[in-house]
């Protein structure tokens, strides 16, 4: 009982090659940068694109498996909420919601009464006779969700459901969405580029980059051990790739790091920006990792300054504004950086 995809397809420049298993009653966030293929993935699951190879199955029923099986979208029983909601502008809210049941063979009266019930359950019964263009963003989002749920789908696909909302509305809508999704029994796939959505709405995260899933797991697992630069940047940490020989790592860029943990073979290492110390002169004492770089870029972030270093280890250091003025850091200046071995987290690549 889940939505499974192991498939690939080519669509113009994009090659989507994805293996995915969304389980019933859980929300899986598909997190990825723009252009990674997130929307194409949803459209493919919904049947709006056909896969080239592989298969898509829902509750054990094959929906798409070339060359002989392709279930058309109207027979898939998958609910979709689009980024900009796409409520039919010529129909009232009630008829938008009734559209699904009506199309699936129920009478006009039955569909409308079903729709009324669904709207009431989400507390927006008073919007029934409003035209979509008169709705606020948050209301439109709810209506789009109700419209999708009114077809009693076996799986729910949400494409950036909160991206079109302003910051204030988003918080409130996200909270409500979380509640509605908790009540949905089938698998939910939520496409987003906002890690906050993944954090607040999803049980599991699949990271999609350039058409491929690069990491799957709980959000803690994914962010605890980022495997790609995208995820590392998303959580604001440094990611270094290299090969370990005991407690020494030779990075792919050619420099050396000393770690506390011992590994053999290809490893990934994360270094929190706050753990990178900066000095005017070569530091003395315990830090085992020290090197000279140049200040590439300074960025004020809240009460911290993020310093992008160029050099053998192009890391980001996070220091206080007073440290920046003490060190008289300017873009282009040479600077010493150091990291304690114990501050480096390593894990197999």
């Amino acid at each position: 009982m889940s939505l499974q995809a192991a498939m690939s397809l080519r669509l113009g420049e994009l090659v989507l090659d994805v293996e995915l298993d969304a389980r019933p009653g859980t929300v899986t966030a598909v997190l990825g940068p723009n252009g990674a293929g997130k929307t194409t993935l949803l459209r493919t699951l919904a049947g709006l694109h056909a896969v080239d190879t592989g298969a898509v199955t829902l509750d054990g029923v094959v929906l798409d498996r070339p060359p002989d099986i392709f279930v058309v979208p109207e027979r898939r029983r998958i609910g979709v909420v689009h980024q900009d909601y796409l409520l039919f502008p010529h129909l009232s809210v009630l008829d938008n919601v009734a559209f699904g049941p009506r199309s699936r063979g129920r009478s006009v009266r039955e569909s409308r009464s079903l729709a009324t019930g669904h709207l009431a359950r989400l507390g927006i019964a008073e919007l029934a006779h409003v035209r979509p263009r008169a709705l606020s963003g948050g209301q439109a989002q709810r209506v789009a969700l109700v419209r999708a749920l009114a077809t009693e789908p076996r799986a729910l696909l949400l494409d950036e459901p909160l991206a079109a909302l302003d910051a204030g509305t988003r918080v409130e809508t996200r909270r409500d969405l979380r509640r509605y999704l908790a009540e949905f029994a089938g698998p939910t796939l939520l496409v987003t580029h906002d890690p906050v959505d993944a954090l607040t709405l999803a049980d599991r995260v699949a990271v999609l980059e350039r058409g491929r899933i690069t990491q799957v797991g709980t959000l803690a697992e994914v962010t605890g051990r980022p495997r790609t630069r995208y995820v590392a940047e998303l959580i604001g940490t440094n990611l270094v790739q290299g090969t370990a020989q005991g407690t020494a790592i030779r990075t792919d860029a050619g420099s050396w790091l000393t770690t506390a943990e011992s590994h053999i073979g290809p490893v990934l290492a994360t270094i929190a920006p706050a753990a990178v110390a900066l000095h005017r002169h070569e530091p003395e004492g315990s830090p085992r990792n020290r090197w000279v770089g140049t200040v590439a870029h300074l960025d004020l972030l809240g009460d911290r300054v993020r310093v992008q270093l160029a050099g053998p280890l192009p890391l980001v250091a996070e220091v206080t504004p007073s440290a920046v003025s003490e060190l008289a850091l300017r873009e282009g200046d040479p600077v010493w950086a150091s990291v304690k071995a114990t501050e480096i987290t390593t894990y197999p690549a």
Binding site: P73, E74, R75, H82, S103, R147
Partner: protein, 252 residues
């Protein structure tokens, strides 16, 4: 720019003013209500309305195919459909005659099998008008189908609607303004149709003598009647085009 535009407007307005100037207002009403004029007006309205209806019936599916499917011969089909826009209507009439006259295989078969004669008959006039009016309808509706947000159709399909339901409940309502505009445009073009009609259907009072043909005939005998009928055509066409302007310009 403004000056050039004014010259252009004058270029269109002057013939109209000339017509107004030449008109004999004292007998205009009598000319317009003569039995011949009323007969031609009635026939014109019947024929152009029938032609517009045929455009909707046959033009809508064609527009959809041209806008939504990847038929290999699409450029050729579109060229074929748009041809009557640039072809001299009389050539269209000759072509229709070649295809559907009683001496042609198709025309002969229609006559022998169904007893239908298209040449020199009202159905023939309707056919000639449809022939020249259809491109206007197809061009308008195909454009609307292309420019509408097709994701609404995807949404409808995912919600469980069959292709036909999607077309009927989503596509058609969304492009309705353009369907109306295309129909009116086709109707106005059919109303003014002359060359193809006179060639294919002839100039028979009460059967194929529409207003433009009546104008042509009156020119020989009674210039004032011709001017009166011309003015009538002008007023009708202008009314339609002015009422159409906003819808025509507004994207679907």
């Amino acid at each position: 720019m403004l000056g050039a535009a004014a010259v252009t407007v004058a270029f269109f307005a002057l013939p109209l003013l000339g017509l107004l100037e030449r008109a004999d207002w004292s007998r205009l009403w009598a000319d317009l209500t003569s039995p011949e004029a009323l007969e031609a007006l009635r026939l014109s309205l019947v024929c152009s309305s029938s032609a517009a209806a045929l455009c909707v019936v046959f033009g809508t599916p064609l527009s959809w195919v041209l806008a939504r499917t990847a038929v290999p011969a699409r450029p050729l089909i579109r060229g074929l459909v748009l041809l009557p826009m640039v072809l001299p209507p009389v050539v269209g009439g000759v072509a229709l005659l070649a295809a559907f006259s009683l001496r042609s295989p198709l025309g002969g078969w229609l006559h022998d099998t169904f007893g239908v004669q298209l040449t020199f008959s009202t159905p023939g006039a309707v056919m000639a008008e449809t022939f020249v009016a259809l491109p206007f309808y197809v061009l308008t509706v195909e454009g609307a189908l292309r420019s509408m947000d097709q994701r609404y159709e995807d949404v409808a399909a995912v919600l469980g609607a069959s292709r036909f339901t999607v077309f009927r409940r989503v596509t058609l309502p969304l492009i309705a303004p353009s369907v109306v505009a295309g129909t009116l445009l086709a109707w106005a073009r059919a109303l003014g149709e002359f060359g193809a009609t006179i060639t294919f259907a002839g100039n028979i009072a009460g059967r194929t003598r529409t207003l433009p043909l009546a104008v042509y005939l009156a020119l020989e005998s009674d210039q004032q009647a011709a001017i009166a009928l011309s003015l009538l055509l002008l007023v009708i066409a202008l009314t339609v085009l002015v009422s159409l302007r906003d819808r025509w310009l507004r994207p679907a």
